[in-house]
């Protein structure tokens, strides 16, 4: 089977292994009104048990859930310096909640953001923040329900790596990267708006 991974403008083999936590015994749902941030309503986060029970492959390049990464950060020093450790986050996780616990995000060669549903546009804001506010420079990958028609927006929001959903053709998805030639507004990839860069 050919690869589902697009980096920049080509289909490439995936060197990374995505590590998933075990399923929780009981879904932990936070109730509306009990949390400061509304977005957490109904969205589960990893339990300590899940984090502790996640199995880490002993070698090779692995993408760990943020919570798991933070839990093992100290033990992983060696592998981090060998550029073997990447992280992945859900769209409802707050960058602010973990960024200060990571020494330097640019020591991570890969950050992935998982979008569970096509319609979840939080991934775009997360890309923007990671690139512009937190100055993340390395590979930024979209995983999950990633389809052709998000790619142009993902690219503009700072993503340079796209893992296309397994049942779709990555070659077809490549076309989505070039839906429009010159967009109006400044974003992550092209920071200046059109009126500043071409004579209108």
């Amino acid at each position: 089977m050919s690869s589902q991974l697009i980096i920049n403008n080509s289909i490439v083999d995936d060197e990374w292994k995505l590590v998933m936590p075990p399923k929780a015994d009981e879904e932990v749902k936070k109730q509306a009104g009990k949390v400061v941030m509304f977005k957490l309503t109904g969205e589960s986060s990893l339990t300590n048990e899940q984090i502790e029970n996640t199995i880490l492959p002993k070698s090779g390049k692995v993408i760990l859930p943020v919570g798991v990464f933070l839990h093992h950060q100290k033990d992983l020093k060696n592998r981090i310096s060998k550029q073997e450790i990447g992280i992945w986050m859900e769209t409802h996780e707050e960058i602010d909640s973990f960024i200060n616990e990571i020494n330097d995000i640019n020591l991570l060669p890969l950050i992935s953001v998982r979008v569970k549903k096509f319609a979840d546009g939080r991934i775009f804001s997360i890309g923007n923040l990671l690139r512009l506010k937190y100055k993340y420079k390395n590979e930024l990958r979209a995983i999950g329900d990633v389809l052709r028609d998000q790619l142009f927006f993902l690219k503009r929001s700072g993503f340079n790596s796209f893992h296309i959903r397994e049942d779709r053709d990555a070659k077809d998805a490549l076309l989505g990267l070039n839906d429009f030639t010159t967009p109006y507004q400044g974003a992550v990839d092209q920071k200046q708006p059109a009126w500043k860069i071409i004579k209108r």
Partner: protein, 552 residues
């Protein structure tokens, strides 16, 4: 008005190609219904009761005669010879075939039109005052800022898939005709102490299931920062707005849940890192866009022959209701009423569209505006030509002198077309129009807004109608709930429900009782809404439901 350059044109052309390809993939089953849905919606395509509905964008309600002629042609060629102007100043076609939609969009693109972001969970068409640039009470023409926001919001990558739809309205007049307080973001441009253009920003207003008026988030924002500040608001909303329940997903719910102070704090924090960034507007850009909205070539015409015709009662009624004062002496703006009781409110036939396009070429510099009240406006008509215009427009049944009166009903397409509706709305509008077809009586009743929505999504703006009618579903049959005391403009308010709902048959009689109660209680020259504010709902309730018996 704004004219496309090659960049605007290529974006619209590329959209046509993109959409055509998306539709092909859907028809080939490469996209599921669920996956195609957000894509088609962001291109204005709904799947409705009888056929798809295509909503075409009319940016801030401004149309050229060429564009209106094209809309007429499209309605003949692909639809049933008419179109419906909506409360977002757009136009909707109710009967296109799904497979024709790419071709329709291709034709629209030839006259600088499209259906981009007319639906779906994204930033929608920016709306503004239909009298922008011509009304004497205007402080600053809002159209060029509206155009700047339009360009910025078109295919904005970060805000392509928001929790829910997002509506921005902008006004530049001391009298708000754009209901800015009922929008996700409402903008009021004013001139600050240093005579600089500044903006007052409201956030979190909206009608729909939970009607809420916006809260002020910024009293005085420099125009330079309008895009970065909006970006900060939208980012906070995009990240924190609810996505688990579509009825609680609008920004108003987030603002309410956090409180305006907390919400503002988050926005200001976000803004701090992007303020003065690349999307900050500068003088060269604002002047470039402003030049598209420069004054037309007005004639100096201080004399007019209107006096000759004022003895004609019908003309005189029309003159008082359907023409509006203009900043330029010798000119008036004209509203062509799409509210005759012979057609659905906001509908125009292809013949009417062509006639209006032609009238605009003859009398109003070839431009037409759509109002959120669903009428069409010729903004710059010489007073001298009003009689001539009236006679020609009359032939097309466009001169019903009811603007601002009871039968100038704002109305959504309702259960006859819309698959969301609980109840019909057009027949209700028509039955009220039939009941009040005596123009003298209508003029005596005076200014009053009656708005009808077929469901709580409130496309017919029933919450801000002086009288609001909402279609509700009760055990599978259609009922109508009545609100009184809603208002738009600077003193916007949400109407209050007066009591149990009514059947379709009861409704005209109920409206009659409400009007009679007003006539009985009004002070001379008092308008309906002022009377409701003064005497309260009780007299109206008693008139409609009867007096409650006192306990003995």
């Amino acid at each position: 008005m704004y004219k496309y350059d090659s960049l605007d044109q290529s974006l619209v052309d590329e959209r046509v190609a993109q959409y055509k390809d998306q539709l092909t993939r859907f028809l080939n089953k490469e996209l599921t219904e669920e996956e195609f849905r957000p894509l088609r919606l962001q291109n204005g395509l709904y799947i409705q009761r009888h056929a798809p509905m295509l909503r075409v964008a009319v940016p801030y309600g401004l149309l050229s005669s060429t564009q209106l002629n094209k809309l007429a042609d499209i309605s003949d060629k692909y639809d049933r010879g008419y179109g419906h102007f909506s409360t977002r100043q757009n136009i909707q076609f109710n009967w296109p075939k799904l497979e024709d939609t790419p071709q329709i969009l291709k034709e629209l693109a030839t006259v600088e039109m499209h259906a981009i972001q007319t639906s779906g969970n994204c930033i929608r068409n920016i709306t503004t005052d239909q009298f922008s640039g011509v009304t004497p009470d205007e402080i600053i023409d809002p159209r060029y800022l509206a155009e700047i926001i339009r360009q910025w919001s078109t295919f904005h990558p970060e805000f392509a898939l928001l929790p829910r739809k997002f509506k921005i309205a902008i006004t530049g007049s001391s009298r708000d005709r754009a209901i800015v307080q009922a929008h996700d973001i409402g903008l009021e441009i004013f001139s600050d102490e240093d005579n600089e253009m500044a903006i007052k920003v409201w956030v979190g207003g909206g009608l729909g299931r939970t009607p809420i008026l916006g809260s002020v988030i910024k009293e005085n924002l420099s125009w330079k920062h309008i895009l970065t500040y909006s970006e900060a608001i939208l980012r906070v909303y995009n990240l924190y707005g609810r996505r688990d329940n579509m009825y609680k997903a609008r920004i108003k719910i987030l603002v309410k849940a956090l409180g305006i102070e907390k919400f503002k704090e988050l926005v200001e924090k976000e803004w701090a890192s992007i303020k003065d960034g690349p999307n900050t507007i500068d003088n060269s850009e604002i002047n470039r866009i402003k030049a598209f909205f420069s004054e037309p070539n007005y004639k100096n015409n201080k004399q007019n022959d209107l006096k000759k015709h004022v003895t004609n009662k019908y003309f005189s009624q029309w003159l008082s209701r359907c023409t509006h004062s203009h900043k330029k002496e010798g000119y008036r703006s004209v509203t062509l009423s799409l509210k005759s009781n012979k057609q659905a409110p906001g509908d125009a036939t292809s013949d009417q569209m062509r006639a209006i396009a032609s009238l605009s070429d003859q009398y109003s510099f070839g431009e037409i505006r759509v109002s959120h009240e669903q009428n069409l406006i010729l903004a710059d008509v010489l007073e001298d030509k009003l009689y001539e215009l009236w006679e020609k427009a009359k032939v097309q049944k466009l001169t019903t002198p009811n603007i601002g009166l009871l039968t100038d009903i704002i109305c959504c397409p309702g259960g006859d077309f819309c698959s969301l509706a609980n109840a019909k709305s057009i027949p209700i509008a028509n039955s009220i129009q039939d009941l009040f077809d005596d123009m003298d009586y209508l003029h005596d009743i005076g200014e009053i807004n009656l708005n009808i929505s077929g469901c709580m999504n409130a496309c017919g703006h029933h919450h801000v109608g002086h009288i609001g009618i909402l279609g509700v579903d009760k055990d599978g049959s259609e009922w109508y709930q009545l609100t009184l005391g809603g208002n738009q403009g600077n003193f916007a308010s949400i109407g209050k429900v007066i009591g149990p709902s009514f059947s379709e048959e009861e409704l005209p009689e109920v409206i009659k009782k409400i009007i009679s109660t007003f006539i009985k209680h009004r002070h001379p020259d008092e308008i309906f809404i002022d009377c409701v504010s003064r005497i309260g709902l009780q007299p109206f309730k008693e008139a409609v439901y009867g007096k409650k018996e006192k306990k003995t």
